[in-house]
Symmetry: C2
Subunit: 189 residues, 2 copies
DNA sequence: ATTTTTTCTTGACATATATCAAGATCAAAG
DNA sequence: CTTTGATCTTGATATATGTCAAGAAAAAAT
């Protein structure tokens, strides 16, 4: 079983027989550091799986950029609403480092449902799980201090902190780089 | 067409023929002010549509309560992850006023897919739309001040402000009741 | 290796928002 | 209507976090 098939199975719980059918629709692709996967306002006609590297999802606002999320190995990446509803992209997505992807175009993506009958249901469950993660994230902003958000995120994503510029992690945690730097200093032994 | 059917159609874009099948699975129910729809840690074996009234979704934490959302007329209400994955409820949901619901049990809910072939796909799209709303909400915490969050929310949910205690709205906007009160005072003509 | 650019840290200071406490309003219950 | 409890407002004060600026460190380019 390929790496991609294993990930798809782990996320969607698809029987082996149908796994291959889906995985075959994906094609390898490469993004160089700094390349854009999609641009805000443009269209999003693809869904990709990250084999290696990292992508930053962000919005440019007035003068400053706000990082919404950082995706790495093992994540799927797309602009969900743009892909499903064929609306303009709401985010920029840019490679923070050279990144290997497996990509499926929106046309083939729409055909998955015809190849694999349970697809829509499995995908529904997948999106619902992502929904739950966002609920938790909102909750973290309603009830935690900057330091608590950092602690919680660091506990589950330690690896990101020596892979990605801290300023972007600060932004996606809802604090300034200076505040993140002070929190980390305070926590040194 | 009943009120419920109209709402289902507007959310899911379901053809009239199948609308009735789905709507028939819902039963009227009533919650009195203060009654719990579900309790954190319990099970969630239902999905309801709010015909009138209002429900508060919240978590009790250490000493304080955090309001995650307030649902009113026209919303569906459930604990999505508890319903789909049969896990314990993550939230409390309590009636803020007498509330009329149309309710479907989890057993009948799971059968919708067999009655209506496109159901899972339509529900996927519905959940994806909710996902997008949560993305925006996270964004509001990453990039806006308390006052800006208030302005944005007030612009789209004015009616809530004379229906629901302000302390709960403050909590779901991520600020204290005092801060909300001061923001509102400042904005008086 | 050296230079240049980007990122990170640190301090001084500013500001938004929280906390605490008291009184004022409003709504529910008798 | 009157009373009781909940909710909202307001002021004084505390605190977390932001802003600005400069230098240090790290990474990228030459």
């Amino acid at each position: 079983m390929t790496e991609l098939e294993q990930y798809i199975r782990s996320y969607f719980g698809i029987p082996a027989a149908e796994l291959a059918k889906i995985a075959d629709l994906f094609r390898p692709a490469l993004l160089r550091k700094g390349d854009y996967f999609i641009r805000s306002g443009g269209s999003c006609d693809k869904l990709s799986f990250i084999r290696s590297g990292s992508l930053r999802i962000f919005v440019t606002q007035a003068d400053k950029e706000v990082t919404q999320w950082i995706s790495t190995k093992g994540y799927f990446v797309t602009d969900l609403s743009a892909l499903l509803f064929q609306t303009p992209c709401r985010w920029n997505i840019q490679a923070l480092s050279d990144t290997e992807l497996y990509t499926i175009g929106s046309k083939e993506y729409r055909e998955i449902g015809t190849h694999v009958p349970q697809w829509h249901e499995l995908e529904k469950l997948f999106i619902a799980r992502c929904f739950t993660i966002l609920e938790d994230r909102i909750f973290s902003h309603l009830s935690m201090t900057a330091e608590e958000r950092y602690d919680a995120f660091f506990a589950s994503h330690k690896e990101l902190f020596n892979q990605v510029p801290l300023q972007y992690l600060a932004s996606m945690l809802g604090m300034t780089p200076e505040t993140l730097s002070r929190i980390r200093k305070k926590q040194l032994p």
